[in-house]
Amino acid sequence: MNIFDNYKNVIRKAVENDPIRSKQTFSLNESLLDRNREFLSSLKNELPGRELSEDMKTLARGMGVAVTFDYQPLGSHPDFIHLKGTDMVEEHWIISGFIDVKKSTRLFNRFTKGTVRLITESIIRASILAVNLCGGYVHRVQGDGLMVYFGGKSIDKKKAVEDALKSFSMISYFVKNDLKDFFEENGVQDIHTRAGLDLGHTNQVDWFYSGVGDSGEVTTCSLHTSLAPKMQANADDNGMVVGHNIATNLGRPKYFEQKTKEIHDYEDGRLYHQYNFDWERYLVDIGLAVQNHAGVLVLTLNAFPDPKRDSRDLYPIASKSKPYFSRCTQGN
């Protein structure tokens, strides 16, 4: 089972049919570009929309999400929509997250901008799926990245922390495991995600309407919303950096490694720390991923053997073993 296969397949087709990649010409003429535009336009329809694939439904069931779930509309968080157009301010905790895909600029050397656009859109759509599956709200799409909120009035704070980490871990997995090898095969290195997440407690977050008339949005004012993109900038390639509030709420230190430099100095002697989050270990521990013989992560629900498994694919690894049993030579 791979819930991201549909997105990956679109990217593969776009890349395989790219006129620059297939070396048809380096000085592309208009008719060629027109044909490619038409192809990309029809290919875009293959990207999963609101309907979940069977694999996605299996994953959703395993995660305890209804298979009929619907994507949340972009923009205002539904629990604070009533603040739209008002001067009211409401305090409520929220987890703010930023994740983006750092693409090699070489993508533009190797493919047409139409192909690059479809690659970006596929990754963004896959990310939106992961966020929605985990109960998050996409607040804004910013180029190659997302600004996301996790939490709300009827959600347990610890559960929201777990969901946020789960969601961003899945996105990181998609780019690191599903896409990276494919791009490297096509001569594109250094495609990776970076993510930042932080939790602001109720007394640390103001919800309000920012803007004039219809030109505005319900948003948050919080040190922790502001710190999240800074943490994202501090993340390693395919890394995730989270704030101290996230680390303490999850309460499992083995996933967190404190970074040497704090993310914020309160200038009263207190420091606010940031942590590298071991999202791969987390995905395995919560049962959303397993590891193959080489330790490489595979997103799955390990309660269910894959119905498409074929013993011919198991042969290469199984044939390394030739077992023996002896009552007279037991114990080596």
Binding site: K308, R309, D310, K320, K322, P323
Partner: protein, 222 residues
């Protein structure tokens, strides 16, 4: 107190395989790694998982063979599945394992090339009715099979003579006719086998010798 090499290798192993951790060892002198093996095929399709305990001799490492115990009872305690009543997995014929032991193992490599394939092979047999690369027969028959497959030896007297040569360190003129098989030069036939036999532990060779002398041949091996 583990050796530095064991410490480093365990750290590397635990850094690679997240479902494993150090647990209380049931056996003194052994470090115990408890965890879960998920079997995935070449297309990363999931087949099933096993709870296992890996016991590594603290003082002998890397010149040791870890003991692997299947704890989840997924594998029936049936000797035809190459597992003891206590769940100890019979990973391979001792002769091959002893070769690894002599060379010195790296825990992560041993996991990838010996432990993991054993569990993948269980699923292969479950799906197809046979092990992917066959299996050794039980007890002495398996040892006879090993000598046949590894050295193309089937004649018990011939095997006994070579085992005695390997154990006693007898030396023969390399360029003369082979006294064992009648080949034109000893160095080109049976001496090669004697050298290979010497990579097996002497205790195993002694046991093999005893068994070959004890049991009459059963006939032609397939």
């Amino acid at each position: 107190m583990y050796t530095r090499k064991l410490n480093e290798d365990i750290e590397r192993f635990l850094g690679s395989y997240f479902r494993f951790e150090i647990v209380q060892s049931p056996q003194k002198g052994y470090v115990a790694l408890g965890g879960q093996i998920a079997v995935l095929d070449g297309k990363d399709r999931f087949w099933g998982s096993f709870d296992v305990l890996i016991l590594v001799n603290e003082t002998e490492y890397p010149y040791t063979i870890p003991v692997v115990i299947e704890q989840s009872m997924v594998i029936d305690r049936d000797w035809n599945l190459h597992i003891s009543k206590d769940g100890e997995c019979c990973l391979d014929i001792p002769h091959k394992l002893q070769k690894l032991k002599r060379q010195g193992i790296v825990l992560e490599d041993f996991y990838q090339n010996v432990i993991y394939p054993f569990f993948a092979n269980y699923h292969f047999k479950n799906a197809t009715g046979a092990y992917a690369n066959g299996e050794y027969r039980h007890d002495f028959d398996g040892i006879v099979q090993y000598y046949h497959e590894a050295f193309q030896l089937a004649d018990f007297d011939h095997i006994i003579a070579l085992l005695e040569t390997a154990l006693n360190g007898n030396k023969y003129e390399p360029n003369r006719t082979c006294r064992f098989c009648g080949g034109s030069k000893y160095k080109k036939c049976c001496r090669k086998i004697v050298y290979k036999l010497k990579s097996i532990e002497k205790s195993q060779l002694r046991l093999d010798l005893q068994l070959f002398k004890q049991y009459p041949p059963k006939g032609v091996l397939s």
